[in-house]
């Protein structure tokens, strides 16, 4: 204490100067004159530089609580980051679906896939829309990528959809470039098969396959997939053609049900003629 008093007495002139200067600067800081803004910013920069220079000195009394707070913030931010990533992905998917809805002449009902069976021969998806939303059996299910399948059955709030990877799936399809008609079906694996395509018909790898106007369930022109393999077996009448679906059926989360049902007059006439 005595030493401190000695130091104060030794430097009293300087301490007094600092005291008066600080009061003067404080008064200046209370001004609204435009010159003061620069002084304030310079003062803040100086204080910031001093704090930064002495920032390496840890405050052991606050470190513990600071660490706890930082951990809590870290956890909270991590959770928020996950939520934001999910929201972004969902937003991207919905934007793509919205683009599809805007360019199509059909009426759509948006649906979320709430259930899947992907390990059976009769793979299906469960949608969170049903009869209450106007969904009926045989309505096509699509995404912005192309055809997913069709509605098999409905309840008031849910619908079961048959996807392309189902052994009962059949669709009239057309190879867009060569205008070749065929029957599309699934025989296991990730690819589909185009049936009844004669060896003489023009089908090449990379050709786009779409739904045909002959289909009574699917509107024509819906993208199904791309021809990924063609081969010809000696002695056989038809080609073996594999089609890669344009929709990744294992990852679908949001879909649209097209409010489209078969033309009953056409179906009745075709059935009458067949009999």
């Amino acid at each position: 204490m005595r030493r401190l008093v000695d130091i104060v007495l030794l430097f009293k002139e300087y301490l007094l100067l600092i005291f008066y200067v600080l009061i003067s600067l404080l008064l200046l800081a209370l001004n609204d004159a435009p010159q003061i803004r620069t002084i304030r910013s310079l003062t803040l920069a100086t204080i910031g530089a001093v704090e930064s220079a002495f920032g390496f000195i840890p405050n052991y009394f606050e470190l513990r609580s600071e660490n706890t707070i930082l951990r809590e913030q870290n956890l909270s931010l991590s959770e928020e980051l996950i939520r934001l990533r999910e929201a972004k992905l969902e937003n991207d998917r919905l934007r793509q679906l919205l683009a599809l809805k805007e360019r199509s002449p059909f009426t759509y009902v948006a649906a979320t896939v709430v259930g899947k069976t992907m390990h059976l021969l009769q793979n299906t998806i469960t949608l969170d829309v049903g009869e209450g939303d106007g969904v009926r059996p045989n309505m096509p299910i699509v995404t912005e990528g192309g055809l997913v399948g069709r509605v098999l059955s409905t309840s008031s709030r849910y619908a079961i959809g048959q996807i392309l990877w189902n052994k009962d799936f059949r669709a009239s399809a057309k190879v867009e470039r060569g205008r070749v008609d065929a029957i599309l079906q699934w025989e296991g694996g990730e690819h589909l098969s185009l049936k009844n395509v004669a060896k003489t018909q023009d089908v090449l790898i990379g050709d786009l396959v779409i739904t045909s106007e002959y289909s009574t369930i699917y509107p024509s022109g819906i993208k199904i997939g791309i021809v990924s393999k063609t081969s010809q077996t000696p002695g056989a009448l038809f080609q073996t053609i594999e089609v890669a679906p344009s929709v990744d059926l294992s990852r679908i989360e949001q879909v649209f049900v097209i409010m489209h049902t078969a033309d009953s007059a056409r179906v009745a006439l075709e059935q009458k003629h067949t009999k």
Partner: protein, 168 residues
């Protein structure tokens, strides 16, 4: 034999107030090409040489503060207090208890007034011109140095008066 402290302080306070009023009312008539002497700096230097650095610094602060509070300087409250505090502190460096009369009655007084006035003007213009397009160097050359010279010239009057009274 020096007067009691309380009496001396009262003398300095009263005369300081009078000089503040004079500075704000009459000194402008001494203006030469827009340059006016700072008689309060002369007074602060006198106090610093007579009483020491602490007294000079304190006198500078309070005289500047009174000027600000009376609205005699521009709207920047604290600016005159700061500049005059530094001027008083600077003048206090030249305090020598054994040579007070010689200093006040000799050319040293003019030199000290010039140094203190120059420091005062530098501080004043550095802050006053912040944020403006005018460079403070240019302003010090255009106004600070002429003001310093004029103030030093005015300081000849008290110097001669003091020399005549105490040194002749």
């Amino acid at each position: 034999m020096r007067k009691p402290v309380a009496r001396r302080i009262s003398f300095y306070v009263i005369l300081s107030l009078i000089l503040v009023v004079v500075d704000s009312t009459l000194v402008k008539f001494l203006s030469l090409a827009g340059i006016v002497p700072d008689i309060l700096v002369v007074w602060i230097v006198y106090i610093a040489i007579r009483e020491g650095q602490i007294a000079g610094t304190t006198a500078g602060f309070f005289i500047g503060l009174v000027m600000n509070l009376m609205g005699m300087t521009e709207s920047m409250l604290g600016l005159a207090a700061l500049a005059k505090t530094v001027a008083g502190f600077t003048a206090g460096y030249f305090y020598n208890e054994n040579k007070t009369y010689n200093t006040l009655g000799g050319y040293q007084f003019i030199v000290i007034v010039a140094v203190a006035s120059f420091v005062h003007n530098v501080f004043y213009f550095i802050i006053f011109l912040q944020g403006s397009d005018l460079g403070w160097t240019r302003s010090v050359l255009a106004y600070g140095i002429p003001t310093t010279a004029y103030t030093a010239a005015i300081a000849l009057l008290p110097m001669f008066a003091f020399a005549r009274k105490y040194l002749s």
